[in-house]
Each structure stands twice: as C-alpha cells, then as structure tokens.
C-alpha cells in the first residue's frame, strides 16, 4: 500500500489528488487546487506544486512524511496571444452632418433654413428662414430671450443647434415649436450661411427624413447623382433621435477601408495569402486550406504585420524561446466591431467600425521537466516527505482522457475538450484507446477581449461580464434578471448598484459602468462565446474526429475553467446535438466536476 499524489501543472492552476494504491486498486482521498506559480514547465512551479500537494493531503487528513510518490504531468506549454485591428473608418468632411444622440433634444419635427451664428441673429430680416447656431457657454435664459426677440421681429426660425445641454430648457422658453439639437461640442465648426436641416423625433422614435436618401433629396432638392453622393449620410443617421445635415459644396460622409495588410499562412505543402480586410470568414477558409499550419506571418509595414510580430514577441518573452523560433501553430479570426469616434465629427459621434480579432497559439517544446521534478522532490523532502520520489507521468492528453473517463456515463470513443484561457485543446481516445490531440487558438481571453471592445469597457469589467449573468437593480429591493424574472431582497441593495446594470458574480453585485441595456450586453456576451468556443469546439472536433466525421465521436467531456461557465457548456452542447454527440461538463471521479482529470489520470495510470 502506498500513498501517492498526482499533480497537474496547468497554465493557470495546479491541481493535485491524493490516493492510496493497494493490491485491490486505487482509493482516492482528497484533492487540491491552487494558482500555478511561474510559467508552466519551469522550476518556479515548485511553490504551487507544494501548495497543491499540501492541500490534497490536508483534505485527506494525512501529513507530508507519509507521502511516497508524486506523479507530475509532462507539461507542454501552449502559449497564446491576441491582437485586434479595425479595418474601416468613418470620415465626415466639411462638417456636413451632426449625427450624435444627445439624451435630451428639444422640440420635434423637421426644420430647414440657412445656418446663422447666434451673435448675428439681430441682423436677420423678417421672413428669413434661419437655423441658429449657438456656441457653448451662453446661458439658456439669454438664448431663449434672443430667440424670442427674433421671432417677435418675424424671423422665420426653423431650428437650432446648441453647444450646451440646453435644448429642452430653450424649447420650453420660446414662443414656437422648433427642433433643437444640443450637446454639439464643436458647434463653432458648424459651417455658417449654408442650407441645413435639423430633425428631432418624438421620444422613443427615430428620425425619418434625414436618414432616408430620398428624404435628403427632397429637403435639399438633389438630382440623382447628388442623391447617390449623400446616401452615406443617410445611412450614418439611421436609428438616432436627432440630427443635423448641412449642405456644403463638397462635404461628404465616407466609409473608408483601412488597408490592413496581407496575412501569410504557411502549411506543409502550400502557402496562402489573404487580405485581412476580407474578414474573418475568408481568413478561416484560407486557414482550412493549409491546415495543419506551420507558421503565419503578416506583411511587413502593415497593421497585420505589426500585429503578428507583437504576438510573437510577446510569446517569446513569456516562453523564453528565441523570437526566430516562435512558430504560430493556429489562428482564430473573429469579425468584430469597435465603437470609435468619427473623424471630423462635431459632437463626438461614434460609429461601429469593423475589426478583426486574431488569436494565435504557439506550441513550445517540452519544458525542462526533469529539472522541475528534481526541484519538487528536493522541496518536498526538505519539507518533511523524506521518502518521496517524483515521477514524470505520461502524456498530458492521455492522462486527461483517462481522468475524463471516470465521469459517470462516459465511454470511448471520447473527446476531451479542455476550454482554457488561451487555447482550446482536444484529445480523442478511440475505441482501441489510442490517443490523438489537437490545440486550437482562442478561448476565454479572446472572449473577454471581444466583450471589452464591442462594449467599449475595460478588460476587468469585460471579465466580470463574461463570468456571470446580468440584472438591473430597478429599485433598492429588487433586481430584474436577464431572463426577465425578478428577484426580491429583504435588505436594501448597496447604493452603487442602484439603477445600474449589474453582474451577478458569486459574492457580490458588480455594477457595469456603461449606457448599454441588459439585452445588448447579454447579446454581445453570448455571441462572443459562440464565435470563440462553439466555433473552436467544432474546429477542434473536425480535426480530431475519426475520418473527420463528427458522428464518429460518442462522447464529448468538457474540462477546464471555462467548462464551469454558466452558459458555454450549453452553447456547445446545442451545437453538437445534431451530430448525435453526448456532450456535457465533466465530473471527474463522480465528484470533482471538470477539475482534476489529469491529476486523477496520472494516479490511475500507475495503479
């Protein structure tokens, strides 16, 4: 009978399980999980290993001196990197248009006239059709008084553009109803003496005329060619409550494509070049043609070139591998969009620009496991395990499938999908027990990045959003959850969450500092997970499945940190259901959930 501990040094966590090996078989005792110290596969792991071993023994109510053998996995560090590049930009020239969405425009309707500076209002003649442009810093009382005086004189005031957030205040104080757009930061740049149209929709509605190309044609009396030229303006103004369009000699709104460069994907036999601007779908199709990929690089001097170079540099830094030796083993491209301030805008207009996010992955060579094993045995002996022997166990993937098979209800052929932070790893154990593996780029970190850029939030906020469901604190005593149900509280909620969208993390309500609604954030979160985890699950399974046929796989067991996610397992299971695959979160040894598979496998393989 001997006391052994299996230890799995992962990228982010180190897991251990203690067991007694007897003539009759294996009796599992306690287990432990701690953060990995240092880079996986280096001697800096020793602290984490010691802590994990101690935790496993503590939960087994045993002490270090009784420990006889420790099995550690052969660690193959997979290192990943991320990059993102916008590939379109919106440009307004000659201040043609103001298309931002102030929360409180004033009045309603459409007004067409000639733009006149506030200071020059006195000089307008009766009957002149005027759009008045009021600079920042003039008090609403002064503005109202001056507008009323002009109206009194018979000036045909048709609309107003204000720098301050004063539209409702002014609308409430003047003697006629006109559309007023406010909070135009750079109001001093609005071209004067030009024909302009101001439109404000009633609350809850969006503008109808200026967002319609023919509406613009009618307002400005345009011919067919001119209408074609202004149609981007109309498109840029859809879905908002207020807008101003100024007709200037050559002003326009353009949707520019930023040349992002060419991506070069090298396979075993061929090399494929693909323009990043063609988007994720085209990139992934090109990648499929060269799989298995040997390396990827970007055209020097372009954005994508810089992007891949920085990913490689980062990987070289992290892994300690020479930069020239870093080979990108897989890529995942995802189409996304980034809210960005429009160049040439006067009011901080924001357009959703197209972007491509890339996750890249490098498989490095085996770490110096002998050294790690030696350091572990020295440490454990010094700490009291005088007899301990540290053994490097089998291949990680084999151990993982062995551990996963202890999940009740599983059988071969079985695929383990390890959903990590940087990469998604799959291992297949076929009917005969033979093992094959594949690593694909992109996992939890990419999801965080997509959420952060699409919502325009910091990464720590995106991380919170990724991990838990949402709710809105509608009062101090109830939350409206994202599924529409309501949760009541006896004690008032903390003031910082009141009226805000919150994340229901395990120990607290975390307020999300954005204007987006619960529905919008939820949609971004779920699609980010779809585009990374579901896509990668299918990609990995297709590469690993016997005859590349998903129907040949009986069971898929999800492991790793993201397998504990509240919705990723169901998203993947839904996607795999059509192939007749049984898919679920692993429950190693019927008790450990998606954790401890490799550690358990190490022990089982030695019994």
């Amino acid at each position: 009978m001997s006391l052994v501990v299996g230890v799995d040094i992962g990228n982010s966590t180190t897991e251990a399980c203690a067991a007694l090996i007897t003539a009759e078989g294996v009796e599992f005792l306690g287990s432990g999980l701690v953060p990995t110290t240092g880079i996986k596969g280096t001697t800096a792991n020793v602290d984490g290993v010691e802590a994990a071993v101690r935790a496993a023994l503590r939960t087994s109510r045993l002490a270090l001196p009784a420990l006889q053998r420790v099995f550690v996995n052969e660690a193959t560090p997979v290192i990943s990197g991320l990059a993102m590049e916008t590939i379109t930009e919106t440009l307004i020239t000659e201040s043609t248009m103001i298309g931002h969405d102030p929360r409180t425009p004033g009045g309603a309707g459409l007004g067409v006239g000639v733009t006149v500076a506030f200071g020059e209002l006195d000089e307008c003649s009766p009957g002149e059709k005027v759009i008045v442009v009021v600079p920042v810093g003039i008090d609403f009382a002064v503005v109202s008084k001056a507008l009323n005086a002009a109206l009194e004189r018979g000036v045909d005031l048709r609309g107003a553009v204000l720098g301050n957030d004063d539209a409702v205040l002014v609308a409430n104080r003047i003697s006629c109803s006109i559309p007023i757009v406010d909070e135009v930061r750079l109001v001093s740049s609005v071209p004067l003496g030009m024909t302009a149209a101001v439109e404000v929709a009633a609350p809850g509605r969006t503008i109808r005329t200026l967002s319609n190309a023919y509406g613009l044609a009618t307002v400005f009396e345009l011919n067919a060619d001119q209408t074609r030229a202004v149609s981007p303006v109309a498109r840029a103004l859809t879905g908002i409550r207020s807008a101003v369009v100024v007709r200037t000699p050559s002003g326009e709104v353009s949707d520019r494509h930023i040349p992002a460069g060419t991506l070069e994907l090298g396979g075993e036999t061929s090399t494929v070049r693909i323009d990043v601007g063609e988007g994720a779908e085209a990139i992934m199709a090109a990648l499929a043609r060269v799989t298995p990929m040997k390396d990827a690089s970007g055209e020097a001097g372009t954005n994508v070139g810089g992007m891949l170079a920085s990913v490689k540099e980062n990987m070289a830094d992290v892994s300690g591998v020479d930069l020239a030796e870093v080979r990108i083993g897989d890529l995942l491209a995802v189409d996304t969009f980034v809210p960005q301030e429009v160049r040439g805008g006067l009011a901080g207009e924001v357009a959703l620009e197209n972007a491509v996010a890339l996750a890249a992955m490098v498989r490095t060579s085996h770490g110096p496991m002998q050294q790690v094993a030696l350091a572990i045995s020295q440490r454990l002996r010094r700490e009291g395990a005088a007899e301990v022997e540290v053994v490097i166990g089998g291949v990680e993937a084999e151990m993982a499938t062995r551990g996963a098979l202890t999940t009740p209800g599983t059988d071969r052929p079985l695929v383990v999908l390890d959903l990590g932070g940087g990469s998604t790893d799959a291992a297949l154990a076929d009917r005969s027990g033979a093992i094959s593996t594949v690593h694909v780029a992109g996992a939890g970190d990419l999801v965080t990045r997509l959420i952060a850029s699409e919502l325009g939030v910091e990464r720590d906020v995106a991380e919170e959003i990724k991990q838990s469901p949402l709710a809105k604190a509608e009062s101090f005593f109830h939350l409206r959850l994202e599924d529409g149900t309501v949760q009541f509280f006896e004690e008032p909620l903390p003031p910082e969450v009141f009226a805000r969208v919150v994340v229901l993390s395990t120990d607290a309500l975390v307020p999300i500092p954005v204007r987006h609604s619960v529905d919008r954030i939820r949609q971004v979160r779920r699609t980010a997970k779809q585009r990374v985890f579901v896509v990668n699950a299918l990609r990995a399974l297709k590469q690993i499945a016997p005859y590349r046929d998903l129907r040949q796989i009986g069971f898929v067991v999800l492991l790793g940190g993201s397998a504990l996610d509240f919705e990723i397992p169901e998203l993947i299971a839904d996607a795999l259901a059509p192939y007749g695959i049984v898919c679920g979160t692993g429950n190693v040894r019927g008790s450990e959930g998606p954790r401890n598979a490799v550690a358990s496998g190490l022990v089982l393989s030695r019994s």
């Binding site: 953060p35 240092g38 800096a44 602290d47 984490g48 802590a51 910091e458 720590d460």
Partner: protein, 570 residues
C-alpha cells in the same frame, strides 16, 4: 432673467504694493475669527472646564468640575484608566504655574515631570500649557521627548498604486534616513502588493525600516499579523463622545484593538489631533486643545505606547485660528509629557506659503520629536495618497540645509545621486524577484530602468492593473506572510535583504518593538525609550548631533570646497 454681467461700480484704487501682497501665496490660505462658544478656538477659551479633582476610596469621584455621575464615557475612561490616583493629589496641588515651570526648568528631571504629569486632569494639563509660550513649549518638548535620538517617518505612495515605485521610494527614503515608512492606496485592492513592495524596499541597504499600510482597521490588522507590515498607526480616537459614537466606537473598543496588536508583538500607536471635533460640528463648546488632551489621555489609558498627533488631517482648522499652531505644538508636547511616543504631524498640506510651511515644522524639528513628520512625503505631493504632506520630495535639499544651519537633527541627510540610483535599482530588482517567486505579474527590466530615474508616477511605464489586482487577491487567498517574502528574497539571491526582513520579523517574538518609541538602529537593534532614554538636563546635555552624524549633516548637494574653491565637496 439675464445672467449677463451687470455693469459693476468702479473698483476702489489699490496701491501696487497691495496688489503684490494680495498675490502672495499666504493670502490663498484661510483665516477665520475665533468663536469659542462652539469650540472654534485653539486653546484659550472661557468655556473650557477649570481643573478640579476629588478622590474617594482610591476612585476619582469629581474631575474638572464634574461629578462622577455626570461623566461621559471619555471622562470615565480617563478617570479610571489614565490618571494615576496615587500621584494625583500631589500633582494637582502643585498648580499649573508650578508644573509649567517644571517643564522648562532644566534642574527638574524628565522623570520628575512624568511623575507629576500622570496625576493631572485634562483641565490641569490645559491650564499648564496655557501658561507657556512657543519657546517654552519647545523647551518642554526637548526635555520630555521619550527617545533621546529624534527620527522621522516617510509617506511612500503612488498615485497609480504602482508597487515598483513604492519599493523604490522606500529604499530611497531608508537611505535618506527615515526610520518608519507608511503607505496607503488609491485602489484598496492593491494593498497587498504595495505593502509587500514597501516591506521589501524598506529592507534594502542598511534596512531595518519599519513599515505600515494605512487601511480600514480589519485589513490593516490582517496585514500586520501576516508580517507584511511591521506596525500600525491609523487607529483614530476623538475628544467628544458624539464623534466617537458616530464612528461606532468607544475608548474600550479602541483599547481592545490595541490589545490585538500587542498580542502579536506588533508596534502600534493611536492617531488624534486638534480640530477634528469642531470640524464635525461636535466640539460641545470646548477648545480644540482641551478635546485633544482628552484624546491623549484616552491613548494613555488604553495602554498604547504612542500617539500620532499634531492636528493631522484637520490642520486647516487650527491653522486658521489665532494661536492655532501654538496649540498644535502644545498637543505634541503633552503627548510626550505623558510618556507617549509622539509622531508629531507635519504630514498634511498645510499652507500655500513656503514660509508658513517651514514655520509650521520649526517647533518639532528644533526641539526634536520621536518622529518629526508622520510623515514626510517621499514622493512629489501629486503622488501622495494621504492628500499631500507639508513637506515632499522636492523639499529634501531645503530640509537638509535647515538641519545644517541650526545643527538640529530632523532625521535626514543628503545622499549622493549614484547611491540613490543604486538603492532604487536594487529595490526594483528585489521586488521583481519576489513577484516572480510568488507568481505575481512580472516586473520587466524596462519598468525598473524607467522607475529608477523617475521623479513620480507620471514618469513610469503603466502596469496591467487587472493582472496586478488578481495577483493581490492571490496573495490574500494563499495566505502569503512576511516569512514567504524572506524565503523569496533568500532563494532569489537577495540574502542581505532577506536577513534584514527576518530580523524585523524576529522583533515580534522578542516584543522589543512594543517598547515606547521603538525603531531599529543601523545594526538593526531596537532603539527605544528603554535603551535610549532622553536624558536632557539643560545646556550641554541630551541629544546633540555631533561626530560622524554631524559630518553627515554638513553634506549638501552643493558645498564649495575650502581646499579648492573651484571644486565642490563630494
């Protein structure tokens, strides 16, 4: 309803001199008239109680005109725990005039004054100092300071909570002479990393600097118990019952917290200061100094070894009333005459005027206190997360010149740039190794290089705050202790720093830092009122900077050489 400016009546003509004076920085300071009825008065108020004391059966039954039945909880705590009943009748009989004379008379020993002071009521203490002018108060401080050798304390903080900066500022501050190093945070969750950085930086070079991290009380205690910090200071006491109760506290709850620290051998002191009660509108009609005396006595009664006072964060209040800075000097001296370690303030932005800032610290730097500043901002004030100090990193050379001018020891010395760069660099490398060893977010060589030559956080490379905060949480979850830091330093080859830190941690076991006014000297031996008792007894006695120390103090950034006036002394 126009808000356009109305035409204003022509302004009266001012002289050019008035204009110049009007624009002097001192006129951006606030000054207010006294209002004694509500406590807006420094120390001379008709509304303060008159001294009185009646003892029956060894128990105080009347104090300062109040029957025991009418005591509030501060009176009760002071009467039962702070005043030595055996000494009281004799001490009170001397009268304030006599006690004041004893304080300035070199023929009366410190011990004799202590014997008297422990029998005085709050009003008697107040009446005593009311008879003393600022020079007499300074003479009293010179004699009554607990530790013979004065010292100083630094604030080492970062506006970005950058641990690397804090480690380097700690190493530089140590080299410049500060005995204690205090930090606090903008983002509280960063605390474990910044406290580790301070602890590591404080042990670079000669090491042995005591560190603390000002946080809410529970976390501060936790970090202390783990040995990530070495002492605690931000345990506040107040002079009226209503302010105490607003903070859900009593003198007894504070005493309990003090006992928790003592039980682990951790040095700690309380904090109080004039002006806090009137600032909150709860002065109960008493002068600022009277209420502060109650705080000092509560500290004494709780059995705590020391007090940080000198108005601290309310300095704008006494600073604005007549005689206010005299009262602040008096509160420091009273702490000392009750045999408490006194960390004497000078630690908050006090004035726009450089002259007033200097004059503010004269009573403490000239007389010498246990910690002249508590503390001195070792960073530019924009990085000072205690809302700015009276003196900051840009004042180092001025401070050193003042020490040299008067031959007074404010605890600091000029240090050459190469030495400072070397210490900062080593602190950075040590912290880099500790972070790597503990699996915390990496510190790059480039970050170190930049920080070594930086003035403040604006000059640094930004860190990944999210990763740092995860690391900070891991430190708390994994139960990292001071001993883990020792191990990390040792195994990374920083054995000298490891040894220094271990020596600091060992003091927990010996309990020597629980002695009044304890710091560690150059040999990392405790230096306190026990083995370095103040022995001032008039001219030619007590602490006087001489010998090697005085030679050290003579050095400045630029001193023309007498040997060759074309050169400067190196």
């Amino acid at each position: 309803m126009s808000s356009l400016p109305n035409p204003e009546p022509p302004a009266p003509r001012h002289s050019l001199r008035t204009e110049v004076l009007e624009n002097r920085p001192v006129n951006r300071d606030g000054f207010v008239q006294e209002w004694p009825e509500v406590g807006m008065v420094a120390m001379e108020s008709d509304f303060d109680p008159r001294p009185s004391l009646r003892i029956e059966n060894g128990r105080i039954v009347e104090m300062d005109g109040l029957e025991r039945a009418d005591f509030d909880f501060l009176d009760q705590f002071i009467a039962d725990h702070a005043i030595d009943v055996d000494a009281a009748e004799q001490a009170m009989a001397l009268g304030p005039q006599q006690v004041a004379r004893m304080l300035v008379d070199p023929n009366v020993s410190r011990t004799e004054v202590l014997r008297t002071a422990r029998g005085l009521t709050p009003a008697a203490l107040l009446e005593t100092v009311k008879r003393m002018n600022i020079v007499e108060i300074m003479m009293g401080m010179q004699k009554m300071r607990a530790r013979r050798t004065p010292a100083n304390q630094a604030h080492c903080t970062s506006a970005r909570d950058n641990p690397l900066q804090v480690a380097m500022e700690a190493a530089e501050a140590s080299l410049r002479g500060f005995s204690e190093l205090e930090t606090t945070l903008g983002v509280v969750r960063y605390a474990p990393l910044v406290a580790i950085a301070l602890q590591v930086g404080g042990q670079v070079g000669r090491g042995g600097r005591l560190t603390q991290c000002a946080l809410e009380e529970a976390t501060e205690l936790d970090l202390g118990m783990r040995g990530i910090t070495a002492y605690a200071e931000t345990i506040s006491v107040y002079g009226t019952e209503s302010v105490f109760v607003d903070g859900d506290d009593t003198p007894w709850s504070k005493a309990f917290l003090a006992a928790a620290y003592a039980s682990r051998g951790i040095k700690m002191r309380f904090t109080s200061g004039t002006g806090s009660e009137v600032q909150m509108g709860n002065a109960e009609g008493r002068s600022m100094l009277y209420l502060e005396i109650r705080c000092i006595l509560v500290t004494k009664g709780a059995g705590v070894q020391g007090l940080q006072n000198g108005s601290i964060s309310c300095i704008g209040v006494p600073g604005a009333v007549p005689g206010g800075i005299r009262a602040v000097a008096a509160e420091n001296m009273i702490a000392s005459m009750l045999d408490l370690e006194c960390a004497s303030g000078n630690d908050q932005s006090f004035s726009h005027s450089a002259m007033r800032r200097t004059s503010r610290l004269m009573p403490q730097i000239m007389a010498g206190t246990d910690f002249v500043c508590s503390g001195y901002s070792s960073t530019p004030n924009y990085d000072n997360m205690f809302a700015g100090s009276n003196v900051d990193a840009e004042d180092y050379d001025d401070w050193n010149a003042i020490q040299r001018d008067y031959q007074i020891d404010g605890g600091l010395q000029h240090v050459s740039e190469p030495e400072i760069l070397a210490a900062r660099s080593r602190a950075g490398q040590a912290l880099q190794a500790v972070f790597a060893h503990l699996g915390l977010p990496a510190i790059t060589d480039q970050e170190i290089e930049t920080a070594v030559y930086a003035h403040g956080s604006n000059d640094l490379l930004p860190r990944d705050v999210l990763e740092d905060l995860k690391g900070a949480a891991a430190v708390m979850e994994r139960g990292v202790t001071g001993l883990d830091l020792v191990k990390a330093l040792h195994e990374s080859g920083f054995t000298d720093i490891a040894d220094n830190l271990l020596t600091v941690l060992r003091q927990r076991v010996s309990g020597d830092l629980l002695q009044t006014s304890a710091i560690l000297d150059a040999n990392l031996e405790p230096l306190s009122a026990v083995n370095d008792a103040n022995d001032y007894a008039g001219p030619g006695t007590g602490y006087r900077p001489g010998g090697e120390r005085w030679e050290q103090m003579k050095r400045l950034r630029h001193v023309t050489s007498a040997e060759n006036p074309e050169l400067e002394v190196q």
